[in-house]
Symmetry: C2
């Protein structure tokens, strides 16, 4: 497994995301790791990210799946081009759509584990399936349709 | 339009949600209003809820749609029972699934507007369509499948 997080390869202008930007001081700083086949991330929610006492807020779960999904898309796209992450031109993805099924309440006070798998990869679109687990149980399943950001937009930000 | 927000009718034990709980000091405090036909909410994101500079984070958009959707489900369910919100037994909904399509980047520095419509209402399930607009343009469309919480679980929390 790669030791540097996918998001830590993002260029500075692309690193302000509330979910995963290393330069967003208030954000969640989600870190995803890619092993060439699947991506993983772990996350321990702060106590205020609750839905009801004892259970994790669904919007946070969607956020984790979202950033893990777009990060996975970027890693897979570099791999498909036979390039290392961090090389130019930068490949970055935004979310075209997200679908999350909440299978069971997700407990607080435990580390969450995310696993991403690329379902489809095309020139401009990558579809990523993400599972979110707590204590070994799948609590949520997500699908992220990630859309490649035009290079001109990356430069323009 | 009802002057008291749907979420302000939630009982204390059900008011700790990061998205919409009036008792969550760190949360977003989303407030939705129901007019018997549709629900509306407005929200002004803090500057750190960014995806890229200038644009709103998709996970925040999903959170807004989520809580606005489950709130709309509760309001519609009371109405279907011919009861006022706040009467017993309490009707509360959790998210079974959420689907969000990001149609265009959502600008920061403007108030966001959410509009909810009930698509289907059954004994245990309400499906709500939510549109999110900025400057009069629909930037995201969501569908929330809201599942009624068993009364025993409400009492037990």
């Amino acid at each position: 497994m790669e030791k540097k997080a996918i998001q830590d390869y993002y260029s500075d202008p692309m690193s302000h995301c509330y979910g995963c930007g290393r330069l967003n001081d208030f954000g969640l700083k989600i870190k995803s790791y890619w092993n060439g086949d699947e991506s993983i991330a772990t996350f321990k929610p702060k106590p205020h990210y609750t839905a009801f006492p004892g259970f994790v807020y669904g919007g946070l779960i969607a956020s984790l799946i979202d950033c893990h999904g777009t990060g996975t898309a970027a890693a897979a796209a570099y791999e498909a081009e036979g390039r290392s992450m961090g090389t130019e031109p930068e490949l970055r993805y935004v979310t075209g759509s997200i679908n999350v099924k909440y299978l069971k309440p997700t407990p607080m006070d435990t580390e969450l584990f995310l696993k991403g798998k690329v379902k489809e990869i095309k020139e401009r679109k990558v579809i990523v399936d993400v599972e979110l687990l707590a204590n070994g149980e799948v609590c949520a399943q997500g699908e992220v349709v990630a859309i490649k950001i035009p290079e001109s937009m990356i430069i323009g930000i």
